[in-house]
């Protein structure tokens, strides 16, 4: 998709759930067929609209999880307890059901396989979703830019895409993946559970001298903390792009 191509008016489309995939006990991926889908870039999102019988609507944003160039749309939704929209998407929606979406939108928080500079991804919780699209785009495009991912999760069981990330990390030219556990780490893990701090950042991410583009995504509090740490470490603020997913709901 061209960066600033003049586009037609954005309207709602009805997609159909082709498959669902459980990622963790509280998160799942929806695979949608969306007639006329124009394709997307890694990092873009869609708006999802639910309409109640009385006409009341709720709109939320969800990142596109799959690599571009596919004829389908994949969203991974983490259930937020007491949420209006996410419990419906993670529990009620079934194969064959319709779902209204519009997009792709948001051309700022994107990574393009042609970008030559090193890439630093930092994810908190479900903030991995748009970064996973970048990891997947990197893999399918045979991207040369070296990529690192620092992924903060509460405990091993709440990490999304764990098996796929391990496979990709093991493959030639794949991303280097480091986990940060905030509540409980796997047995024998060298670091006491806790939030990402300056030391971990220095150990697991590109130094500013490498000139990486940094993409930080997760709950608002997480994104702000990590962006501040990156700036304090010497990264240029203009090289740091952020995507805030909303209230923290506990640190991932």
């Amino acid at each position: 998709m061209a960066r600033a191509a003049v586009l037609g008016r954005l309207t709602w489309r009805v997609g159909t759930v082709r498959a669902v995939r459980d990622e963790t006990p509280t998160a799942r991926t929806l695979v949608l067929d969306v007639p006329g889908w124009p394709g997307h870039e890694a990092g873009q999102h869609v708006d999802v609209r639910l309409t109640a019988a009385d006409g009341y609507t709720a709109v939320r944003s969800y990142s596109l999880a799959n690599a571009p160039d596919a004829d389908r749309v994949e969203l991974t939704v983490q259930q937020v307890p007491d949420g209006e929209v996410s419990p419906y998407l993670t529990q009620a929606l079934a194969v064959g059901d319709p779902l209204e979406i519009r997009g792709p939108v948001g051309g700022w928080f994107v990574w393009r396989p042609g970008q030559p500079e090193p890439v630093q991804l930092v994810a908190g919780g479900s903030g991995i979703v748009p970064l996973m699209a970048m990891v997947r785009a990197h893999g399918t495009s045979g991207g040369r830019a070296p990529m690192r991912l620092l992924y903060s999760v509460r405990d091993p069981a709440s990490a999304l895409y764990r098996a796929e990330l391990a496979d990709r990390a093991a493959s030639d030219g794949g991303p280097e993946v480091t986990y940060a556990y905030t509540r409980a780490a796997p047995p024998g893990w060298p670091r006491t559970p806790g939030r990402i701090d300056a030391d971990l950042l220095a150990a697991a991410t590109w130094p500013p001298e490498a000139g990486p583009s940094c993409y930080v995504c997760g709950p608002t509090g997480f994104v702000e903390r990590v962006a501040d740490l990156l700036v304090a470490a010497g990264h240029e603020p203009t090289r740091i792009r952020t995507e805030r997913f909303g209230p923290s709901g506990g640190s991932p």
């Binding site: 939108v105 700022w108 909303g246």
Partner: protein, 92 residues
Amino acid sequence: MNTETPAHLDGNAAAGALREVFAVDLTTAAGRCENCGRTVVLAEARLYTRAPGLVGRCPGCEAVLFRVVRGPDRTWLDLRGLTCIEVSLPDA
């Protein structure tokens, strides 16, 4: 952390609401803040979603840059805090 400030999103999250009105992706456009003169990529505005509609504020001075409110069959757009917007439009 500053508890006075309610949690905000990024202007990027207003991309869908703005793309209903504009034929280009306005979130990648650069706007000038009328209040402090700073140039802001609209995706990097601080987006508050608890007001009616969406309110984008300047990351430098917190002045309101834009507001978008969607109602039945219409959108109301207020660009009060932007003196100009520069959109990349390669000649087709």
